[in-house]
Amino acid sequence: MCIRDSINAEYMGYIMIAKGMQRCAVRASRFLSTEQSQAPLKTPLYDLHVKNGGQIVTFAGYLLSVQYKNEGILKEHHYTRNVCTLFDVSHMGNIKLYGEQRYDFLERMAVADVRELKKGNAILSVLMNKDGGVVDDTIITNMGDHISMIVNGACKHKDWAYFQKVKEEEFSQAASSGALKMEYITSNALIALQGPRAAEIFGNVLGGSLDLKRMGFLNATYHHIKAIDADCMISRCGYTGEDGFEIAVPEAKAIALAELLLNEKCGGLQPVAKMAGLGCRDTLRLECGMCLYGHELNETIGPIEAQLSWLLGKRRKVQGGFYGFEKIKHQMQYGVSMKRCGFTTQGMAAREQTEIIDQNGNPAGKVSSGSYSPTLKKPIGMAYVKVPLNKVGTKLQAVVKGKPQPIVIQKLPFYEPKYYRAPPSQSSMIITKYLNLSLIHISEPTRPLYISYAVFCLKKKNEHAQS
């Protein structure tokens, strides 16, 4: 499941504006979570962070590591892009929905075609509020008899409260009759293994019990991992733009699984995977143009402004049924005034909240996220800019440290994600190769017996189109 890290400037929290020996953390006020009175909690992998020399900070109410001794954000970033790293994302929220009304319930808030989501498949979506803004972004997975959702660590309590409210207002009968049930999972750790060698490492640890080659991006399954004797939920997804897996493992077995993954040598002399912290997660997702809740998304920004209209399901665009649909429909028809875009600059990075002005000094927008890109080796960022100044190639200025600095609007993503696509099945390959037909759809079998029938929907290939 993708991590959607915290928001409300908690994550940006640790930008330290150093002033003399004070080096006071600007984050001092921002960094403290909403549950300020409580001491930060430890994730099941806390001891592993300590053992590996992690620089521990408080984030979303948990003690997590920003980076590790002898590594650092840049090294961890490059290692994720080139080899494989392991992240602890156990602070994220996991909510499960049961009962036949779970689709209707979720579709009141999510903009995706939830009903059409096949078993074992996941989809990125946003949960909407009544004003057409985003409450949280989430990965929704259909696990057959229930739906599993992963939400942001800092939003999870807010999301749970929102779910309860919607349930009481509109689904109270379904809840009392058992047609809708929801569960807030607290007993699992979530490990993200990301990088080009993630499949090799994980495959070795699984000992061949799961065919990872047939598991493509956004596929998910429950699986019993023999090496730790635990039932886990495995999803092929992440928030880094690299191939990888997110594994929900019972908290008692979390360190054991993490150590197996970190010690796996893949036939070589040294372990391959390394631990990586929160610091490089921000640079990794920013390079891929991915939104971070609290920066690119919040309760006042909708998916159209965020350039996420592709999240709206085909059926949902017409039928609606989610909160704020009227406003979204209006925006789809008449447009919006501000839009999310990417930019590059020179010199210092233009950080979050930096004002953007046009060549004449008039206000043009604001930066939502900004940092240095280790892969591109220059400062990059995302911003909300007045239409039509968001067009690629437009030259604007960002006011950094009181001085305007040139920026250029760029096409997103800065770095093309490398998601894994499972090869097509043998039967569809035969059809595609020899009969010049494309396989569009295979129906469910007509009956669960030895002799059964299925409908194969085929389409003649267009001669001009690519195969």
Partner: protein, 199 residues
């Protein structure tokens, strides 16, 4: 007056020529690092001890006439009282807190600077920081290598990661700066302020 003499141990006379009997000696020579280290150390101790006398005898500047001081804002300055030039940079402690440095705004050349004022800036992936002048003076030289690779500061903050050379106008200002023990003590005290800790 005092005098000292140095006994320099010379290697045995030998030649690599195969015909000569002395070539055996050449082949038998073992480079003893232990003894050369002892020699260098002895030399250093001697020179340091007799430095005032030496400086009267010798006209060339002795390399060890420098003082290194630290500021409360995590800069270091190594002052050479022969040349009246101070080399400055940020401390190991500062770079460790900043993390990987990605950009530097070097001080402007030939600019007059005042103690305690901002003369440049540093940026890491996750933080920004000012560079403050440790003393009053003028910038003579800046470390151009940092423009292409600011990461040098992370690798060697107090040596290769030097930021600027300053022509110090009033060496007495150095007296008010911290020495190493005082600076280390300050670092210990301020560790908790950051709500982060290194393990």
């Amino acid at each position: 007056f005092c005098f000292f003499f140095l006994m320099i141990r010379r290697p045995p006379r030998s030649t690599p020529k195969p015909s000569s009997a002395a070539s055996d000696v050449y082949k038998r020579q073992v480079v003893s690092t232990q003894s050369t280290w002892g020699l260098r150390k002895m030399l250093r101790v001697c020179i340091r001890k007799f430095q005032p006398a030496l400086s009267k005898l010798c006209t060339y500047p002795v390399a060890f006439a420098t003082t290194k001081k630290y500021t409360k804002s995590d800069e270091w300055i190594k002052y050479d009282d022969q040349t009246k030039v101070g080399v400055m940079g940020i401390t190991f402690f500062a770079q460790a807190h900043l993390g990987d440095i990605v950009h530097i705004e070097l001080p402007k050349l030939n600019n007059p600077i005042n103690k305690g004022k901002s003369i440049g800036g540093l940026e890491s992936v996750k933080a920004v920081s000012e560079i403050f002048a440790p003393v009053t003076g003028k910038i003579l030289k800046v470390n151009e290598a940092l423009k292409n690779d600011p990461g040098i500061i992370n690798k060697s903050a107090e040596k290769d990661g030097w930021i600027a050379e300053i022509n110090v106008s009033d060496p007495k200002e150095l007296d008010s700066l911290l020495d190493f023990e005082a600076y280390e003590k300050q670092c210990e005290e301020h560790k908790e302020d950051h709500q982060t800790f290194f393990i």
